[in-house]
């Protein structure tokens, strides 16, 4: 049984909001004190808001824990408390081991100093001592691919070089526990790949990582367990697949709810086949012989009509798309249907987009509601890192040839 390295017990954090939120002045303080001396004794009646509400969690040694949730849900506040940047209002936590936190890229860089000097400076701010940095220095420089420019002041660096160096320093931190806020989304793709690889390497070395990201792809790849933080409280604390599915469902239905007052959809869509076998409204429970129907209104004559239909997953990645050209459309209601003999997509939430063009002239384009929910049985590999792109049903037969 692995040891618990982070144990948090009912952590709460209250922030004050009010008229003096950003700026206190001595003058104001003094005038208030003179005008009503009694008000100093009373508790100030600032409006408060709880960024975190009784969050309890345990992280075991060697675990990679993902934190997900919408903006302002309290993920960063939680990281800030665990990395001791700010203190909780109530509750407590115990952290065993050296903590390295990476809430921003390039913390402590100074433009006047050379890459070499900044490496040492930034490393020391992140908690390494001089000897450790010196030992890792060559590795850091090689990782950032900056051998030639290491003695140039960083103010002459391109932004890409700057980010690479900053990342390289952070990636070579060797804490027992690494707290990472959404910083991995910087740098070019090649370098990001390198960083994610480095992170997994770190976790394989038995170190613990708590990782905040809005990119479910990254979370899937790195984490085995996910905590979903919502309105300052833990909403789910479970295996990655389940937590992400629950989160994506909630996000999608939240989107639909918030879109009620919006302009009418460009197109309506429905599942017309199979009639009863598995289809319920926008929910699809079958792999094959599916037919979707799209209906839309055309207002004027369209000579060289083009229709684009795109299916995206909840991360916005296009799963499938089609375009039909040279359509002659007259004003009025139109509909088309797309019959698909086989629909092997992963279970989850999807969105249809529909576009109407005249030649290359854009007429109407937009997302269709509601979302498409695919609830077919899963034929995926049970481990998340082997999750593929298709959900292909199969039969497995073992034969012994004698």
């Amino acid at each position: 049984m692995p040891t618990t390295v982070i144990h948090a017990e009912k952590l709460s954090k209250r922030y004050r909001i009010g008229e003096h939120e950003r700026y206190y002045t001595l003058r104001d303080g003094l005038t208030r004190a003179l005008r009503s001396p009694l008000s100093l004794l009373r508790h100030s009646h600032h409006e408060t808001f709880w960024a975190l509400k009784e969050v309890s969690l345990d992280v075991r040694e060697g675990e990679v824990l993902g934190l997900i949730g919408r903006n302002g849900a309290g993920k960063t506040t939680l990281l800030k408390i665990l990395s001791r940047i700010t203190r909780p209002t109530t509750g407590w936590a115990e952290v065993h081991g050296r903590v390295g936190s990476l809430l921003e890229v390039g913390t402590g860089f100074h433009p006047e100093l050379t890459g070499r000097e900044n490496t040492f400076l930034s490393g020391s701010i992140l908690g390494m001592n001089k000897r450790e940095i010196a030992r890792k220095f060559d590795e850091i420089v090689a990782f950032a691919d900056l051998e030639k420019f290491i003695d140039t002041p960083v103010k002459h660096y391109s932004s890409g070089m700057y980010v690479r160096l900053a990342f390289a320093v952070a990636a070579h931190l060797e804490p027992d526990i690494l707290l990472v806020d959404e910083v991995l989304a910087v740098g070019d793709l090649e370098f990001q790949k390198k960083c994610l690889g480095k992170m997994s390497e770190v976790s394989k070395g038995g170190r613990t990582i708590v990782f905040v990201s809005h990119q479910m792809g990254q979370i899937r790849r790195l984490c085995e367990r996910v905590i979903w933080v919502d309105h300052g409280a833990v909403r789910a604390d479970t295996r990655t697949v389940e937590a992400i599915n629950a989160y994506e469902m909630a996000m999608a239905s939240g989107d639909a709810a918030s879109s009620e007052g919006r302009v009418p959809d460009v197109a309506r869509w429905e599942i017309i086949a199979p009639e009863n076998g598995g289809a319920r409204g926008n929910i699809l429970e079958t792999f094959g012989d599916v037919e979707f129907r799209f209906s839309w209104l055309v207002r004027g004559d369209v000579q060289k009509g083009e229709i684009g239909i795109v299916l995206r997953n909840s991360e916005g990645t296009i799963v499938w798309a089609t375009i039909q050209t040279s359509l002659n459309l007259r004003p009025g209601e139109h509909s088309c249907s797309i019959a698909v003999p086989f629909f092997p997509v992963l279970p989850g939430t999807y969105f249809w987009s529909f576009g109407l063009y005249d030649g290359h002239q854009w007429i109407d384009y937009g997302q269709c509601y509601p979302e498409l929910r695919v609830e077919t049985p899963s034929f995926m590999h049970p481990q998340d890192q082997y999750r593929g792109f298709l959900n292909v049903p199969y039969e497995f037969k073992l034969q012994v040839s004698q």
Binding site: L26, I85, T89, E94, V95, S124, I125, S203, K204, L222
Partner: protein, 316 residues
């Protein structure tokens, strides 16, 4: 010491903001081969340090051990600060002694030659310069410590380190300028034929200067973090304080001398002058009074700074 002390600019952090957005969608499609993400059984030796995170409580939660643990950061950042300060302007180093030397000439001319204030039998240049060195140290370190917390707000909100490092490092960094001034003063002394006496054993009085600068700096940096208009008051206070200290005149002019010592700067300046030249009255009670005052200011400053520290990341 200029205001840019210990202030790190992070222009690329702004640039990276747009990068983050544009890359948000692309990273999701990465495929990185990864056989196994974690090894639950990997025997990684747990380091013995355990940190307990709790709501702030009590008046006094000092952890000098922690400050010590961040010695590398302190040394490297101080080194960088000094380097930047003197690299940026050719006049940088020159200014360190030009400022007190010029002030000294003005003082020697007006207070000495024209007003004929007593100087305890010392030549005016030495008399004034010996006071101006600690006084310049105070005024510089105070004005830079005032802003040190606010100027480092980026750092404070993004990474943990014992905040106490900030005022401590500014107070210590001022000693660099101080030593340069000290060398110049020694030259003056030699020129005027004033050689070290047994009084030089009083030189450790300089520690008092360091603690005074630190104690007052703690108050000012914390106050300035809480109330942003404090920085406009500080220059006036520093000016006022100089005239309340025996810079332009000898402390022998002051009637209740030991009471005067409760101004810690008085004790430091008097003691320093005595230690360097051996002229004037040996500092006795005045130093004791200053010492008491410094202890009070320093302890109060630590408590106040500590109170502020717990909420600083939420405020700045």
């Amino acid at each position: 010491m200029d205001k840019s002390l210990l202030r790190w600019h992070l222009p690329a952090a702004h640039i990276s903001g747009t990068l983050i957005r544009s890359l948000l969608y692309t990273v999701g499609v990465f495929s990185i081969p990864m056989s196994s993400v974690t090894h639950p059984n990997a025997a990684f030796p747990l380091r013995s340090c355990t940190i307990r995170i709790e709501p702030p409580r009590g008046l006094f939660e000092l952890c000098f051990g922690e400050v010590w643990a961040y010695a590398s950061f302190f040394v490297l950042s101080s080194g960088a600060t000094v380097k930047i300060r003197y690299k940026q302007s050719a006049i940088g180093v020159l200014w360190v002694f030009l400022q007190p030397v010029l002030t000294m000439f003005v003082f020697a001319l007006f207070f000495g030659r024209l007003a004929k204030l007593p100087s305890d039998g010392l030549p005016y240049p030495v008399f004034y310069f010996a006071a101006l060195i600690p006084r310049t140290y105070f005024s510089c370190s105070h004005s830079s410590t005032t802003n040190v917390v606010v100027d480092n707000q980026r750092l404070i909100t993004k990474v943990y380190f014992p905040r106490l490092i900030l005022p401590i490092s500014t107070a210590l960094l001022g000693l660099v300028d101080f030593s340069i001034g000290f060398v110049v003063l020694s030259i003056f002394c030699v020129v005027y034929g004033i050689l070290p006496t047994l009084a030089a054993f009083w030189l450790p009085v300089l520690l008092l200067a360091l603690f005074t600068a630190l104690g007052v700096g703690l108050w000012m940096s914390a106050l300035n973090a809480l109330y942003r208009d404090v920085r406009y008051v500080i220059p006036f206070v520093i000016q006022f304080w100089m005239f309340a200290s025996p810079v332009a005149y000898a402390s022998s002019l002051v009637p209740a001398r030991w009471l005067y010592g409760f101004n810690p700067m008085a004790g430091v300046i008097d003691g320093f002058r005595w230690a360097i030249t051996g002229h004037g009255q040996p500092p006795g009670l005045i130093l004791l009074a200053s010492f008491a005052a410094v202890v009070l200011v320093l302890l109060g400053g630590l408590v106040f700074f500590n109170r502020m520290e717990t909420s600083i990341a939420d405020r700045v």
